[in-house]
Amino acid sequence: MSTAKFKGRWAPWLFLLPTLIILALFLYYPVIQTFRLSFYRVAFLGLKTKFAGLENYIDLLHDSAYHHTVGVTLVITTAVVLLGLAISLAISMLANQKIHGAQVYRFLLIWPFALSPAVAGVVFLFMFSPGFGAVNYLTSLVTGHELNWLGDPTLAIILVIMASVWKNLGYNIVFYLAALQNLNTEVLEAASIDGANSWKRFWYVTFPLLSPMTFFLLITNITYSFFDIFGLVDILTKGGPQDATNVMIYNLYRDAFEYYKTGLASAQSVILFLLVVVITLIQFRTSGRQVHYGG
């Protein structure tokens, strides 16, 4: 990319202009505004704002309900990321074998790529509804009594995790399959000649070779369970029961658009933003070089 192919002083700026204007107006400006708003507090039903310094942040720091929200987010994120990656890697390994109809299986496994969080929410809400939901019927056959998936805090968390993992399976499998197909098969063949069994081959050869992809998916899955999960939570549990599934992004939304606490919501945005910056920086620092040795 070192040699310029076309000459022109203004041409490159003209080509960049639409992108730069939109990014400045609808990404940079609102981010700066978010920081500004987080130092203000709304009074008199949103008619007046007054400077509040760090008050919003201090309130959040001392608010046990907010601590709970952060805890819920960590639990759900950890579960969604670990389960999601483990399950999709296992499925991708199976689907990557040289068998008849491999293409058909691959396609049947990656279509959930096109699913939306809202659709996942609606379908799971119905399946797990008390009284007539199909899953409840099955669990009552096995355990003898109905499980209240939407009313019990622990079960509601499990439900959100299951729905989120399901919705993201297609995405993860697409990327893992692509990585598996780009793997250097010579190394695997050499390992198999050396007498390594399939588990050893996976654990000492394939898994380390896949680590750049695993790392990429780790980051995208963390962002997924921080933000994209919103629609699913909004339809499935509305943050309940008793705030059991009230993740940070949902809490922020309610503070902003249901209770009109703009300043408090903006302070939460800033906290989330800083989290994202840290995650992204880790990604930038590691994605350039290969995570596995050799390469």
Partner: protein
């Protein structure tokens, strides 16, 4: 040899089981969407197809505005897909085929936006866009739904990476032939970048089709609402919810992204593989 066939059969069994498990929620929704209200609430639950045929679909489409939401979302996703691809290609062209001062700064300016998902700044973006819309009388319009999303770092970097993998002799030849940058883009880069274009288009279409929080907060008129928020509205009627109808709506909402995915699947995986090689 015999062990090998046994292993293969086991793999088939495992894969069929997994495929069915992954598809189960959608198959369930599909079955329920064809059942009458009585069949839906029957106990024990009926898992087969019902006797309502396409009735739930028809009702969802006409009486519950699904057709309207789908039309709106199709227009919004189409506009964003087209302009984002165009703007990203132009930006990629500038970054790969030109030298200009502050190039590095521009690169980082675009790169940093990767850290700014809509959800994070939803409050400030909402304030900004609703003020702008009020000033321009554009409330509840396609403009407020599309304009903030017409550019993205993902798109720019996809094309930047793709263009830099194209042999530079091509651009030299084009210049010798007297072709300008736009001619070069249109008649050389676009035809050989089809996989990358399809990959970006697919991702953008699905992203826009599945958008939820932005239409939820910015749209106040039902006739401009998008499909995902429309689905939410159907479930909000709580105890009187007609689940057969909701499942029909969910299936309808799944169809367009699924069709696009089917059509572009091959280009998508190829375009992605290209990006991987670096």
């Amino acid at each position: 040899m015999r062990r090998k066939t046994r292993d293969e059969i086991l793999t088939h069994i495992a894969l069929i089981f997994i495929v069915l498990l992954v598809m189960a929620p959608v198959l369930f929704a599909l079955a329920k969407s064809t059942q009458t209200r009585a069949e839906v609430y029957h106990f024990p639950p009926k898992l087969g197809f019902g006797t309502a045929g396409f009735f739930n679909y028809k009702v969802a489409w006409t009486q519950f505005d699904l057709g309207l939401y789908m039309k709106n979302t199709l227009i919004v996703a189409g506009i964003v897909m087209f302009f984002k691809t165009l703007f990203s290609m132009l930006a990629g062209l500038a970054l790969v085929y030109y030298e200009f001062p502050l190039k590095e700064w521009v690169f980082y300016f675009i790169l940093f936006t990767l850290m700014m998902p809509t959800e994070i700044m939803i409050v400030a973006l909402f304030n900004e866009v609703s003020n702008m819309a009020k000033a321009l009388s554009l409330e509840n319009s396609y403009a407020v739904l599309t304009v903030p999303f017409l550019a993205s770092a993902t798109g720019v970097f996809l094309f930047r990476q793709h263009f830099s993998s194209i042999p530079s002799e091509l651009a030299d030849a084009a210049r010798v032939d007297g072709a300008g940058p736009l001619r070069f883009l249109w008649s050389i880069l676009v035809p050989i970048s089809w996989n990358a274009i399809a990959a970006l288009g697919l991702i953008q279409f699905i992203y826009m089709w599945n958008q939820y929080i932005w239409p939820l907060v910015i749209i106040r008129e039902n006739k401009m609402q998008l499909i995902q928020v429309g689905l939410r509205g159907l479930t909000n009627q709580q105890d009187t919810t007609n689940w057969g109808l909701v499942m029909a709506a969910a299936i309808l909402a799944m169809i367009p992204p699924m069709v696009i995915f089917l059509l572009l699947q091959e280009q998508f995986t190829k375009g992605f593989a290209l990006g991987q090689e670096k």
